[in-house]
Amino acid sequence: MNVEELKKKFLDNIKTAQEEKIQDNQIFIKIDKEDIKTVSKFIKEQFDDVNKILEQVFAIDFPDRNEMEMIYTWWFIEYHALVHFRVILPYDDLKVVSIQDDWVAANWHERETWEMFGIDFEGHPNLKQFLLSDELFGKHPMRKSFKIEHNPEEAK
C-alpha cells in the first residue's frame, strides 16, 4: 500500500479525519479527540499485512489559542510511511483517553506528556512522577508559561 492509499483508507474509515498535508512519506491527519481510541484500535486490527509501531506521542502548547495540540505518530514499516494524527485539546478540557492498553509503547510517552504538560490521560494506570525532580514536579515545565530562569543570550 502506498502513501496515497494509506491516506485514503484513514479518510474513508475515520469519521472526523481531515487531511492536512503529505510531506515526503509522512501523512498528517487531523482528528477529533474522541476518535483517538478508534484510530488506535483501527490501526491495531486492520493492518495485518504490515508491521507497525507507535513511534511517539507528544504535545505542543499554544497559549495564544488557549489550546494544546497532541501528535500521535505511527510508523508502517513495510509501507515506508509515517502517519501523524493531530488532536486538539482546549485548555478547559485537557483530557484525552489513554491508548496504552492497545499500544504498550504509549505508556511512557503518555506519562511524560502528563508530567510535562499536565494533560490527563483517562484510563492510564500509572500516572506518577517520572522524569522531573521534586522541585519541578507539578509545574509542567514544557508549557510556554514556564520560563527558564537563565536564558542564554539571545542572538540579536
Binding site: 508491521n51 505542543i60 504498550v104 509503547a105 527558564i148 542572538a155
Partner: protein, 371 residues
C-alpha cells in the same frame, strides 16, 4: 493458605541502582522472591536536562550543540537528525560533497558507538579483557574525530547546510587505517567473546523478545532486527546519500541477547562496507551552503529521522511565525525511551544475575532516555 502466607512474606523490595555498577544513572525498583524477580519498576530521570525546552530559547544554530548532548557516544548521528529537520523546514539544499562527508562521519560515529557498547557488554558478562581491548579500539575513532573537527567526543562536525570542515587526504588515510585495523580486531573480538562458552550460556535463549513484543514496545534499530523485522531506515527510507551504497543490515529471528550482540557486530561490518564505497567517491565541490547565522524559517513543521546505532532517532520541529529565528517546539524522539520500557516486562521471572546481561543487550543510553 500458609504456603501463600510464607510466600508473600519472602518478597523483598529494594532499589537496584542508581549507584550499582551494573546500571547507568537509572534505577530499578525490584521485588524479588529469593533470586527470582517478581516485579520491576524502572525509575529514570536522573540525567533529565530538558533539552527540548532549552532549544526553544535558542536560535536554530545555537541549538546544534545541545542536540549532540542527547547522547555523546553517537554524537554525529544525533546532530544529523536535527540538521535534516531544520533543512527540511527552512528549505535548504545541501551540496552532495557535504552529504558524503556527513555519511562518512555518521558511519564512523556509529562504529565508535557500537564498539564501545560491545566492550561494555563484554565487561558486564565478565570478560574484562574484551572491554579494555574494545575501548582501546575506540581511541582510533576519537583520534580521527580530533583531526576532523578538533574535539574528540562531542564532535560538532555537522552544521545546518553542510559540514563545518572540509575533508582531506590525511583523514582518508586515517579512515582506511581504521577499516583495516577494525577488520582484524573484529576477528579477535569474535574469537574472544562470541566463542566464549560462558558468554554463550549467559546470552543464548536469555532475554528473548518476540517479534510481536518488539513491535508492541516500539523497538527500532538492531533490537528490532534481532527479533526478525528489517527496520533499518537507511535502506527502507534512505535519507541523505544512503541510496548510493549497497549494504544489507543483518536480520535474525531469535530475539535473545546473543542475536542482539551478533547484529551489532555485523553493523560494524555494514558501516565498513558503506565507508569503503563512500571514500573513493567523495565528489568535488562545496562542503557547505552559506546559511545566515540568524537563520529564518517560515511557519511550518518538519519531522526528520535517522538511524542511530541504537535505533530510530526523530526530531520534530515546529515554528508558528513566518521568519522565526527559533524553534517553537522541538520534540526529540530517542530510541532508548521506547527500548527501556520493556525491562518492566522481560526481567520478570528471570534471576538477579541476568539483569545486567538483559539490560545491557538493549544498548540503552540514559542520556537519550531522559533527554
Amino acid at each position: 493458605m500458609t504456603e501463600n502466607k510464607e510466600r508473600s512474606s519472602s518478597l523483598v523490595s529494594f532499589s537496584y541502582g542508581p549507584q550499582h555498577p551494573g546500571t547507568h544513572p537509572y534505577s530499578l525498583l525490584l521485588t524479588v522472591d529469593g533470586d527470582r524477580i517478581e516485579k520491576v519498576e524502572a525509575q529514570i530521570g536522573y540525567v533529565h536536562r530538558g533539552l527540548a525546552k532549552q532549544a526553544e530559547s535558542r536560535t536554530f544554530i545555537q541549538a546544534l550543540p545541545i542536540m549532540e548532548r542527547s547522547c555523546f557516544i553517537d554524537s554525529v548521528n544525533h546532530q544529523f537528525g536535527y540538521v535534516m529537520a531544520v533543512e527540511k523546514l527552512a528549505g535548504i539544499e545541501v551540496p552532495e560533497r557535504a552529504e558524503y562527508l556527513r555519511v562518512i562521519a555518521a558511519e564512523l560515529s556509529r562504529m565508535n558507538s557500537l564498539i564501545s557498547w560491545f566492550g561494555g557488554y563484554a565487561a558486564e558478562t565478565g570478560i574484562n579483557s574484551a572491554f579494555m581491548w574494545a575501548w582501546k579500539d575506540r581511541e582510533m575513532f576519537l583520534d580521527l574525530f580530533g583531526h576532523l573537527a578538533g574535539s574528540r567526543v562531542s564532535v560538532m562536525y555537522l552544521t545546518i547546510g553542510g559540514v563545518r570542515w572540509d575533508w582531506n587526504d590525511k583523514l582518508t588515510n586515517l579512515t582506511w587505517e581504521i577499516i583495516d585495523y577494525m577488520e582484524e580486531r573484529l576477528k579477535i573480538h569474535k574469537k574472544l567473546v562470541m566463542k566464549n562458552s560462558i558468554f554463550k550460556k549467559r546470552t543464548k535463549g536469555v532475554g528473548v523478545v518476540s517479534k510481536e513484543k518488539a513491535l508492541e514496545y516500539a523497538f527500532t534499530g538492531p533490537n528490532l532486527r534481532a527479533s526478525g523485522v528489517q527496520g533499518d531506515i537507511r535502506i527502507l527510507e534512505p535519507y541523505s546519500v544512503y541510496d548510493h551504497f549497497k549494504f544489507t543490515p543483518k536480520v535474525m529471528t531469535e530475539g535473545d541477547n546473543w542475536a542482539r550482540t551478533m547484529i551489532r557486530l555485523h553493523d560494524i561490518e555494514t558501516s565498513m562496507e558503506i565507508l569503503k564505497q563512500a571514500l573513493p567517491e567523495i565528489p568535488e565541490g562545496e562542503y557547505k551552503t552559506k546559511v545566515p547565522l540568524k537563520l529564518r524559517a517560515n511557519a511550518g513543521e518538519a519531522y526528520a529521522r535517522v538511524e542511530l546505532s541504537r535505533g530510530v532517532m526523530g526530531y520534530y520541529i515546529r515554528t508558528v511565525e513566518d521568519k522565526s529565528t527559533k524553534p517553537y517546539r522541538v520534540k526529540i524522539r530517542g530510541p532508548s525511551f521506547s527500548h527501556f520500557q520493556i525491562v518492566e516486562d522481560i526481567l520478570v521471572g528471570t534471576h538477579m544475575a541476568d539483569i545486567p546481561i538483559i539490560k545491557g543487550s538493549l544498548d540503552v543510553c540514559p542520556a537519550d532516555l531522559d533527554r
